[in-house]
Symmetry: C2
Subunit: 150 residues, 2 copies
């Protein structure tokens, strides 16, 4: 799922009764151009599209994000920045996050055992896994001082 041509995307969509549209292609292209670890909010994505000269309405941006999460193409991250962020779903990479609840600094890490656990658990419950996220919330060394305030 790391790379998907327009026609491959079309097949994925059509197979489920959805349509391939220029908007959907452009959104996916934006995500494919990001480096590993980068993630965008709906607003970020909307801007990135504008910067590429693509005028796609915010409603469509939101609808496209949901659809692509639902299809397993994107993963939705909740990293305490107040709004959701999205990135390409690359299940093989076992890519997870560690977030400071104070300053919101976010670190990435890999841990290959997680997806195994995820697969097993999901199977037991009859689920088809789309995404598997281990998120650690804590306090980073800069923020961890007795006098810290909210």
């Amino acid at each position: 799922m790391t790379f998907l041509s327009d026609t491959a995307l079309k097949h994925e969509l059509n197979a489920r009764g959805f349509r391939s549209t220029p908007q959907r292609q452009k959104v996916l292209r934006i995500f494919m151009a990001l480096t590993q670890g980068e993630h965008l909010s709906a607003e970020n994505l909307h801007q990135a599209l504008e910067e590429d000269g693509e005028h796609i309405s915010l409603s469509t941006v939101y609808r496209t994000l949901h659809l692509m999460v639902y299809m397993g193409l994107l993963r939705e991250l909740e990293l305490a920045e107040g709004h959701k962020h999205y990135e390409l779903n690359r299940p093989m990479l076992d890519h997870h996050h560690l977030v400071c609840v104070h300053c919101n600094q976010t670190l990435e890490f890999s841990e290959s055992s997680i997806s195994e656990i995820g697969k097993k658990t999901a199977e037991t419950s009859g689920y088809q896994v789309l995404d598997c996220q281990l998120t650690l919330y804590g306090i980073c060394s800069k923020c961890y001082m007795p006098e810290a305030r909210t």
Copy 2:
């Protein structure tokens, strides 16, 4: 952290420069009275307090939730219902979630290896872990049908 008396809460708060207030005590009591696996949104909590005859403003409810997450007393869950839910943080229980991205059905599961991984990762990065969440997103068996739509 499964049970915390008013005076223990006071010590925790004062040690960090925060104050013990009746509102904070009442909020924590509500969470301590929940059964394992139950979780509340800010709105739910507000209502639960009202039902107990406690009038605490929504602002205070939100502020208290943030503070308690920051202190590691509560954990914040993002289970695709559109708003955040909260529950007592019981680090020993290794209690995680599996969510259907289509119908939002949520299942709980335990997996004791996760907190080990979390601890190790956080240490490496100099973080103090407050919470460790493995969240699996997928499609449940009821929703997994070729004709499924958004």
